[in-house]
């Protein structure tokens, strides 16, 4: 690890003084101190800033110009780019962790993105809203319309989220592409983790979002 690059940045936590988001704290807990992290879809850089305040050497990729500029203005190392096209240019094993926070559902090819993440990084951390949550199911069943929530207020025709999935769907994808699940946490609408030993169907029904720590599968498909 290069000494210069691991130095923490001055600011700690979000610049606006608000407490860090629960899912961000959860992600930050999964990352070992002193590791190299790529945050894909880093937005305004809040998570990266939280990570760097904890001694992580962080890099960001963000598609929106505004997000990039706000991140760079925080002193973060963030570049403008698109997860669907730009991950291919990152070399193998260049990061300890590659994070995709609330962005999986906005990619054109979630499976390809996930495969790239575990090629570039030894581990991947993915968080996403669970479309299998009972409120979603209820809206579709009762109203017969695409669900909209406080956290996902966009209509079907103007949302950036084109590949929603449920926790069950995601687990299935991980199995298909030989990804090892090292840790999984589902959060209720208040950001509280659901019982660890609850069955998958319970998480899929009551988890509003999920955070997964993933590793490369044993069969060596990803080295």
């Amino acid at each position: 690890m290069n000494e210069q690059a691991t130095l923490p940045l001055p600011a700690t936590g979000p610049a606006n003084g608000e407490a860090p988001r629960v899912d961000h704290l959860l992600v930050a807990e999964m990352v070992e101190h002193g590791s190299r992290v790529l945050d894909i879809g880093c937005g305004d850089g809040d998570l990266l800033q939280l990570l760097e305040s904890r001694g992580v050497d962080g890099r960001g990729l963000e598609i929106s110009r505004e997000g990039v500029n706000r991140s760079v203005a925080k002193g973060l190392a963030v570049i403008q780019g698109d997860a669907d096209t730009d991950l291919a240019s990152y070399p193998d094993d260049s990061f300890d962790y590659v994070i995709l926070s609330q962005t999986l559902q906005a990619t054109r090819q979630p499976r390809v993105v996930l495969e790239h993440m575990l090629r570039i990084g030894r581990r991947a951390i993915v968080s996403f809203p669970n479309f299998g949550h009972w409120k979603m199911r209820l809206q579709l069943m009762i109203k017969g319309q695409m669900p909209r929530t406080d956290r996902l207020p966009a209509t079907w025709y103007d949302t950036a989220n084109i590949h929603f999935c449920t926790i069950k769907d995601f687990v299935q994808l991980c199995d298909e592409i030989n990804v090892r699940m090292e840790r999984a946490v589902a959060l209720d609408p208040y950001g509280r983790p659901l019982r660890f030993n609850a069955p998958w169907w319970f998480w899929n029904l009551f988890g509003e979002q999920a955070v997964f720590l993933l590793g490369r599968g044993e069969a060596g498909a990803h080295k």
Binding site: A5, L7, R59, V72
Partner: protein, 398 residues
Amino acid sequence: MSELAGITSGDGGREREVDHPSSLVATFGPDEPLRLDCGVDLAPFQIAYQAYGSLNSERSNAVLVCHALTGDQHVANIHPVTGKPGWWETMIGPGRPIDTERYFVICANVIGGCMGSSGPASTNPSTGQPWGLDFPVVTIPDMVRAQAMLLDRLGIDTLLCVAGGSMGGMQVLQWAAAYPERVFAALPVATGPRHSAQNIAFDEVGRQAVMADPDWRGGRYFAEGTHPRRGLAVARMAAHITYLSDAALHRKFGRRMQDRELPTFSFDADFQVESYLRHQGSSFVERFDANSYLYLTRAMDYFDMAADHGTLAKAFLGTRTRFCVVSFTSDWLFPTPESQAVVRALNAGGARVSFAEIETDKGHDAFLLDVPEFLDIARAFIDSAAVARCLGAGHTTS
């Protein structure tokens, strides 16, 4: 025609600056030659530079600014020839992003320039006459090598930051590639890792304009008491268009007429944009040497980091320098993909790199103008580098 035709005012200020600049000067004797890429050892030679702020006792707060094609060392003071403010006062000065109250800021006139560093307008010590085309052809790496010799002379080992736009940005990239251990942070703006075919083409138009002027006299205009003013002015006019954008020209001038309501049915400057360009051309020749223009455009044309290193990624392999690359949406001289190529190469090597594309209609020249989003990013980048550097010092002593 009046403005171009009427250029007669004296070149006294410009000519004086060539050998005896209103700047600090470092002279290098016959025993300290500058080894040029063309194979020539240039000696003796001199470098004219400006310095602002003060160097701290650890010598860790030095920032080197690299100037663009027609810039010079006068980044943040009144220009001795034109009487105008420094060319980067939006960026450099007390309380500015490159804060002269915190950093020791150095800017040197490039080798091949005409504001006091050795160049084709300087006196050739072996003849006592201006070098003219006898001056060896210089490259961007040569400019950087000369700056490194200046820093050695000043006793500055490591730079907190090297910053510059356009040709200055090329020098920033070259600094990071040639002296990675001496550059803590690099801020290349509106630049690229090579000059594109289109840019070489524009440069060639400018050079041909200069050389087609009968007053150029094969580059020996000093001896003959002429200066290819019209040729150099036309070169500047053509180049100036590439520094702007269609939208910026439209916003500033549109099709508006200059001091008249109707066309004159002549080739007078009917349109404001014509008048503006003629003014740009005529004021440029008052402060710039025509041969210098040939040499410096040539240096940009020859710049190709990928060719020099095999691949662009190899140029930056293993670098510990932190980078902030900035481009502008309306810059068609160094469009965003040129910057992205640098960013991809840096990423491939795991460098700590930020990249921002700033939305503006001001074209290539945006890096010189008051573009708050750009200045905010530059400030944040330099501030964070300064903090990291201080912490770094603390870590090694603890």
